[in-house]
Subunit: 374 residues, 2 copies
């Protein structure tokens, strides 16, 4: 894509926290994104040694400050409760042109805690992937392949740093999706945190109320097994995730409990029609979900958007497309001759998607045209 | 096992309802249980023709009455709401020595609806297995292989007929587990009907409340996919199953909603300790469940129980072991010389299980001894 020649190459990256996520980032950035140097920091010296031995990092730093001082980009891969503090320290200790991002699974808290100046260089991220077991020993360079990778740029985020993060994430093999931090957290409450809470509640219910003893659970069929597969994974991590997203998760739990009470009432009045509609509606909803996922890969199209040279434009456009779940496969900013305006060039999949994207940015007042990218 | 020589061979079986279950029973009974003739009845003539063409039945009967008239055993494989009526008709039209069973997924209703005389020959069953798609086209002779197959004998059930059903079910490759009908229904509410209801409720919640539009659900991770896999399967069938088990399912829904409200309250007061214990407890519960399932196969042991010649003894003993989830791999009744007493011989897996079984029947007043069955 044109414009990429002008990009600043990302040569040095700092990874703060070298567990499964940080270690996988280190491996993938070197193997897939041409990163020459990965400086790791971690309070656990044994984890640092192992990350170095596995090649996940190229250098073990003595502190976060040492790791980030010469970095072009910093990824914070620590427990979610510590991220805001680490982000502040990384921003303070890194250079003026350095991007700071994180991989926390909730985004509203950290973005709200940072100030407008800090949000110029901090752009949150959340790769939706993981593995059964944590620790750098299980790190893999293909962990991010085909995963959704949410990006939560603030209006203050610098366009060039958003572009840098978008490129790095694409290079990892992930699908970057720009999204508002609050929207992200409500979505995660619904599709991840609520399912985890339900799975745990169901195991407790089975253990405490199963007739004929716990052993009878051996007869549990596939539906019980499916619903409880994620129950009890990594308790300290998940307790923190639940707390970090407590408002949205509490709302989702209340909603779900209300729906179960509705089913209960339908049973009590013997309302077969209601039950039938309830299950049929679920069948239809699941089908829509499945078909949305099985979308065909189409030829690349280019969307060229005229943009003024002011902060927030890139993240506004990226989030408008992200919220409509239009995948931006690549993007580049081309400055105009007068410095006051320029062109944002986006690569999307297929003509229909390109036209829909043009309509979306057009409705926000930006002129856009589309063309095949062949 | 000794005693099997005295068994009445099951030569003719009637299958009422030739869908996935009935068709699979027909195939498996012929292939695995030495059944010579399978007479099928179904209100849908096209289903009957297809069952005949696939060899699932050997003869298409014009009516339920015609199908069962000369049968040694009848399996009712119709929708759960119609089973009581069909059981009555099958009992009335079959011979005095004929066993009548069903494959309905709830058992309390039908057992309670039948009278004591009817329960002498009716013994409910519930194979815990199925397939993605229904209909005789998807019938398979290995559908029951390794599946739990619940049997719900009443105290009135004739010992010889229970023995016959137990043998047929074992021959199919399934693991027969005797259980009280009410206990069965509460267990199924917990491990099957509740998970189905939750899956459907979760899909509705996602479809109606997902931020950034339904399309955002494409980003849903594996936990959401796991929890909603069974959502919306076969709406008329599941509406009937929910209704047939409405009391137990309503109770299970109320319990689950209460647990979700507890999580909500812990989030609202920011109680990390509670959340940690909640998730750790789920991890421990899931581990116990997993280890109970992975039990090793051991050498067969024999349990010889002295039993008086009166109704209900066999089902009492079988259910005592079933409730402790002791799998009876085979059983036979050996009449005593005086006709007033006899011996029940049970085959179980391993010495420890045999001793536990002897303790259980001993606590009910029956003398029992154990020996290796080698």
């Amino acid at each position: 894509m044109s414009g990429s020649e002008e990009r600043v190459a990302v040569a040095v990256v700092a990874v703060v926290g070298v567990g499964l996520m940080g270690g996988s980032l280190g491996l993938a950035l070197q193997a897939r994104a041409g990163v020459r140097e990965v400086r790791g920091a971690d309070p656990d010296p044994e984890a640092l040694r192992e990350a170095l031995a596995r090649g996940a990092i190229t250098e073990a730093a003595g502190s976060l400050e040492e790791a980030v001082s010469e970095a072009d980009a910093v990824f914070l891969a620590a427990p979610v409760g510590r991220l805001t503090d680490l982000a502040r320290r990384a921003l303070a200790a890194s250079g003026e042109g350095c991007l700071v991002s994180d991989v926390g699974s909730t985004k509203g808290g950290i973005v709200a805690a940072l100030g407008p100046l800090e949000r110029e260089r901090f752009i949150g991220g959340h790769p939706v992937c993981g593995a059964e077991r944590g620790g750098v020993a299980f790190a893999r360079e293909d962990l991010f392949q085909d995963a959704t990778y949410f990006l939560t740029p603030s209006p203050e985020a610098r366009a060039a740093l958003f572009e840098r993060l978008h490129h790095l994430v694409s290079a990892l093999g992930a699908r970057p999706v720009a999204i508002d931090p609050g929207v992200h957290d409500r979505l995660m409450a619904l599709v991840s945190h609520l399912p985890h809470a339900i799975a745990a509640a169901l195991i407790h219910q089975a253990a405490e109320t199963a007739p004929a003893g716990r052993e009878a659970l051996r007869s549990a069929g596939p539906s019980f097994t499916d619903l409880t597969r994620v129950a009890g994974a990594n308790p300290p991590l998940w307790a923190d995730i639940f707390l970090a997203n407590r408002v949205a998760l509490a709302e989702a739990l209340r909603d779900q409990a209300g729906r179960l009470a509705e089913v209960e009432r339908a049973l009590e009045r013997g309302d077969r029609d209601w039950l039938l509609r309830f299950i049929e509606g679920a069948a239809a909803g699941r089908e829509r979900l499945r078909s949305a996922r099985a979308e065909a890969v189409e030829a690349p199209w280019r969307l060229i958007v005229g943009v003024p040279n002011r902060p927030g434009v890139i993240s506004e456009i990226a989030m408008a497309l992200g919220h409509a779940h239009i995948n931006i496969e690549d993007l580049a900013l081309r400055p105009g001759v007068d410095g006051a305006a320029g062109e944002l060039i986006l690569l999307v999949s297929g003509e229909a998607t390109a036209l829909e994207a043009a309509r979306l940015v057009g409705s926000r007042g930006y002129a856009a045209e589309v063309a095949p990218a062949g």
